[in-house]
Symmetry: C2
Subunit: 293 residues, 2 copies
């Protein structure tokens, strides 16, 4: 998905929100803002939005001299999600449709995204989890995913955020784990999950986890490692979590299932669904087959 | 009031909203956005926010080759306000405190501002009018204004928007009209009232109206005419309507009463009142003496 003009004021606002979260130094706030304005005025709109997010967050890390500014938030999100895991796991296991409920929760977990909003309260996360179990779900799309998954042999699961990967674990536990490799980011960007989060949340104990070699807040193939690109090429089914992965992969010609919570009005318009939608879609398949919230 | 960093993403968003209201040509949207990003990256934050608004709207008029892009909206707003005038005038006249109610309505009229939001529904305006009659009002501040007004000899009333000037007329009719000169903008900017609006709403029939010679969405003294500056210098009381006039005059050492509806979070923080406040304040006097909504 290309950058829309509406993304630009949003980049500028996100820049300010993000840098304020990372440092109180107002000179750095101003310097970064000016750098991002400079970057934006010559922007190639044929790029995907996470390409700019990658540039902005590289600058934040450089200007604040902090390689992982969201470390504390990520640790906290993992901790909260692990607490919720203990409550959710039996709910999924004992339900009539464990796979369906695990999909619902995996999408619910996608609310833990500091790229769009700078803070998400524990109460927001918990409410989203509760709501997710009752929002209407397109059963046909779930069935298609189930059947496609059964036929696939080599599956990549592109994770999105810290905390959220605990919710992904619930879904992965309902699937044939042997066929799945989870992919995290190569190095820190916003609160995106890295190998550290996969280890600390126990994901590496149940499934192979690799990283994509990139610091893009999505899957920006041009900045991923050759190792990841080879695995991406070879996979016959890809599960893509979150907006950043959707934005970067929506036009890629692969068998990709997109699971995300729609948090921005531009993506909502692009997908023709309301903001807040628990979205489940596939390239080439009617995107409106999603769960509206 | 100086530009805050938070104003910058807002300028960018307002630019896009404004140019879309004026033309459907997406190339112009993009060109203007890039020009405003370029302007913003080198911005002198010691300026007031309307200085940038002035630059942005000059560019919109130039790029669209339209000297008065908001003409239609202004005419519509004047028409609606004149309809409301017939309902409001007897309410003010027959009330126990005509001056107080006229102040309430003059502030209510300040919602008709296309600088902050690109559209305001008739229903929003009507609700705001109804609400204004019951929001709590700082009686001491009204009394101070009344007494100060009585002692003043040469009063400038700095109008803000089209439509709103009909509400201003209600207030002016409660005051000693002979002492008042209303000031409109020198040429079109957003939906700010110009001489055309003062004439079409009948204001020129009851009170002298001059223009300030400027196309700034506020009172940017550096871009006002010498004639206006002489009158401004000479006035012993100034009534300043709206956010733009507040932003440009809040630090000026004159006896200025600011009447406005607080529509932006930066001004709200600056004044330490919630967004939505019906604000009535005076330089040097505790600003929090305002009507909270």
């Amino acid at each position: 998905m290309n950058i829309f003009l509406d993304c630009i004021p949003c980049f500028i606002r996100q820049t300010l929100d993000a840098v304020r979260l990372v440092t109180d130094d107002e000179l750095i706030h101003e310097q970064l803002l000016r750098e991002v304005l400079d970057l934006s005025r010559g922007l190639d709109l044929q790029q995907t939005p996470p390409v700019i997010g990658q540039q902005i967050h590289r600058r934040i890390r450089r200007l604040t001299n902090n390689p992982d500014p969201y470390l504390h938030q990520k640790q906290q999100q993992n901790r909260l999600a692990l607490e919720l895991y203990d409550l959710m796991e039996p709910v999924v296991r004992n339900s009539k449709n464990p796979l369906e409920n695990a999909v619902r929760l995996a999408i619910a977990g996608n609310i833990i995204d500091l790229g769009v909003k700078t803070s998400i309260s524990d109460a927001d996360i918990q409410k989203n989890v509760t709501d997710s179990l009752t929002v209407p779900l397109d059963q046909a799309m779930i069935d298609e995913f189930r059947s496609d998954f059964e036929n696939a042999r080599d599956i990549l699961y592109l994770a999105d955020n810290a905390g959220e990967i605990v919710f992904d674990r619930l879904l992965i536990e309902q699937l044939a784990k042997k066929k799945i490799t989870v992919v995290v980011k190569g190095s820190p960007v916003i609160n995106d999950a890295t190998m550290e989060d996969a280890i600390s949340t126990g994901l590496t104990k149940i499934v192979p986890v690799i990283d994509n070699g990139s610091d893009g807040p999505g899957t920006i193939l041009q900045t991923c490692s050759d190792e990841f690109l080879a695995r991406f090429e070879q996979a016959d089914l890809i599960i893509s979590k979150g907006q950043g992965n959707f934005e970067t992969l929506s036009e890629i010609d692969k068998n990709i299932y997109f699971f995300l919570k729609v948090k921005c009005p531009v993506i909502a318009r692009h997908l023709q669904v309301p903001v807040g939608t628990f979205f489940l879609g596939r390239k080439g398949v009617e995107y409106a087959k999603s769960i509206e919230k």
